[in-house]
């Protein structure tokens, strides 16, 4: 009997980390190979399925950071600890840690775009010697939208972290402004040995790439990840296709040299 990829399997919710009112991380039971940037189709029968990136990888768990914005995710929030969610995956290519070792690594993430790259931040934060230098710029809309607050405390000890919000109430102590504001001053020593990972909403990615290129970073040293509608994750449903590329199979992670030519 051939494998039926469409059938999800139950996975227990081990822990829930509440970041904001609408963004929670669900630590799910899972054993198997997973890479940062890959995704799972998470479903609740009768509401549907949604593709969610892996935001953390444990020995027998995966983290799924879910924002309550749609029909499925609203329902997922009703199913709490101890319960099961149905999942299938992992799908997609994910980030390859090897591409970033011994480089000056700059990770720029906007909002929930931090989820797919969080596994890489975690890796180089706990193995700081494996990259020449590691910097994270994470942008959020407001202080209330900041994700992974506990992780930031850990990262700030090991790598350079710029945590910025687009706008903040008077008296906010942290950094403000778009992520692009911090790019001109990044301490890039050798543009040819610097690699940038840029993930976030489409407009944020577009302007961030422009700023990064102004720093003389070659295209092939920039990596991006695309978010598209995906019903199957298996190269069949067609929704995620850009040009001849299926984001669910060939992506979602692309080198910018290839990714820049993908038009919706």
């Amino acid at each position: 009997m051939m494998k039926n990829e469409y059938i999800p399997f139950p996975s227990q919710v081990k822990k829930i980390i509440r970041h904001t009112d609408i963004e929670y991380t669900f630590r799910m039971e899972f054993t198997g190979e997973v890479k940062p940037g890959q995704f799972f189709e998470v479903s609740i029968p009768r509401y549907g399925e949604a593709p969610i990136s892996v935001s953390g990888i444990g020995p027998d768990t995966i983290d799924l950071t879910i924002r309550k914005v749609g029909k499925v995710t609203n329902q997922i929030f009703e199913n709490f600890e101890g319960n099961h969610l149905l999942i299938r995956g992992p799908y997609g290519n994910g980030f390859d840690i090897e591409n970033y070792k011994n480089k000056e690594l700059f990770i720029i993430a906007g909002g929930t775009g931090l989820s797919p790259v969080k596994g890489i931040v975690d890796y180089f934060s706990s193995h700081p010697g494996e990259a020449a230098d590691t910097t994270l710029i994470a942008g959020f809309k407001s202080p209330d939208d900041i994700l992974f607050k506990q992780d930031f405390e850990q990262w700030e000890k090991n790598i350079r972290v710029i945590k910025t919000v687009d706008s903040a109430p008077d008296g906010y102590q942290g950094q403000t402004g778009m992520v692009t504001k911090y790019i001109p001053d990044l301490p890039v020593k050798n543009p040819d040995n610097a690699v940038f990972i840029i993930v976030g909403p489409p407009a944020m990615m577009k302007f961030t790439v422009i700023e990064v290129q102004k720093r003389g970073i070659p295209e092939q040293n920039i990596w991006i990840s695309y978010e598209r509608k995906m019903c199957c994750g298996l190269g069949k449903c067609g929704h995620c296709k850009m040009d001849s590329t299926y984001i669910c199979l060939d992506g979602p992670v692309f080198n910018y040299k290839e990714g820049k030519n993908l038009i919706d």
């Binding site: 399925e49 914005v69 099961h84 978010e227 598209r228 040009d243």
Partner: protein, 338 residues
Amino acid sequence: MGYQLPRKTADTLFCRLREHYEIFAPKLFAGDGCFSDTDVIRYDKVSSLDEIEFDRRSDYSFKEALFAVNETLFYFTENETTIPSCTDKKLLIFLKSCDLHALKRLDAIYLENGPEDFYYKRLREKACFVLMDCGETCDTGFCAGMGTNRSDNYDLYLKCGEETVWIDCPSEELLSDLKEAGLNEAGETACAVTPNYVTQNKETVTLPKKLSVESFDNPLWEAYGSRCIGCGRCNFVCPTCTCFTMQDIHYRDNENVGERRRVWASCQVDGYTDIAGGGSFRQKQSDRLRFKVMHKIYDFEKRFGYPMCVGCGRCDAVCPEYISYANLVNQLAEEDAK
């Protein structure tokens, strides 16, 4: 090598074949068309040769015999899932050459692009294909230029005359089933049977050869796409369109019990690219038209090595806005030449 047999004998043969086969063929539904007093030809299970529309091209393609307009992937009760059973019978699907070429495109997506699709494969493995020829060209098809006017990879070729039926059956499995059903090699007249095919269409289409990322900005998309109302009919009649969307439903009497289905999707219809949080891509109809046409004649070929479009012409026949895909493609090709 083939056989010639009386139509009555052939009919009995196919009737008996139904013991082992579900037979899908184009059928005329009189008065069932979109507009009043119009007919529609679409695929359905048939029980005799008389029910089959041999001459005219079907308005909808054979693809629904292999993946239904909506198909249940599994039934669920809380965390339990059950896969629907599949027919025990083999499938015998009557189609024309353009559609037999489309089959290769469906296989490419469902069997080669990523892991094999469970539901498609389990039907595909049971399917045999019966080629019907086109006596004359249909109005909007352009198979000759696309090289899809001839096929030799059929399991059975069948030509149906008033009194006589001619068959050629290269498939040994089907031939043995036909013999079991009563095909009497000694009784029928053996003769050379080769499929006829259309060599010239009313519509001629030349594919552009120089499409590239730059073609995305061509003003032609807007010129044609501004008339599009995004109804998606072109996708649903296309024998090579394979997109679907997941849909969960639950039963009214018990919300914990229901099923997950996949339903045909159209890249021309609102919602096709919507992501959680309100994002979407290609909001203009002209962008959606460009996406579809580039897929049919450019990017599928980049991935699989041959164009996706088979030139059946159904999309042009069904468009309520009279948008001519054939003209659009020809205009793109003319620009090539400049």
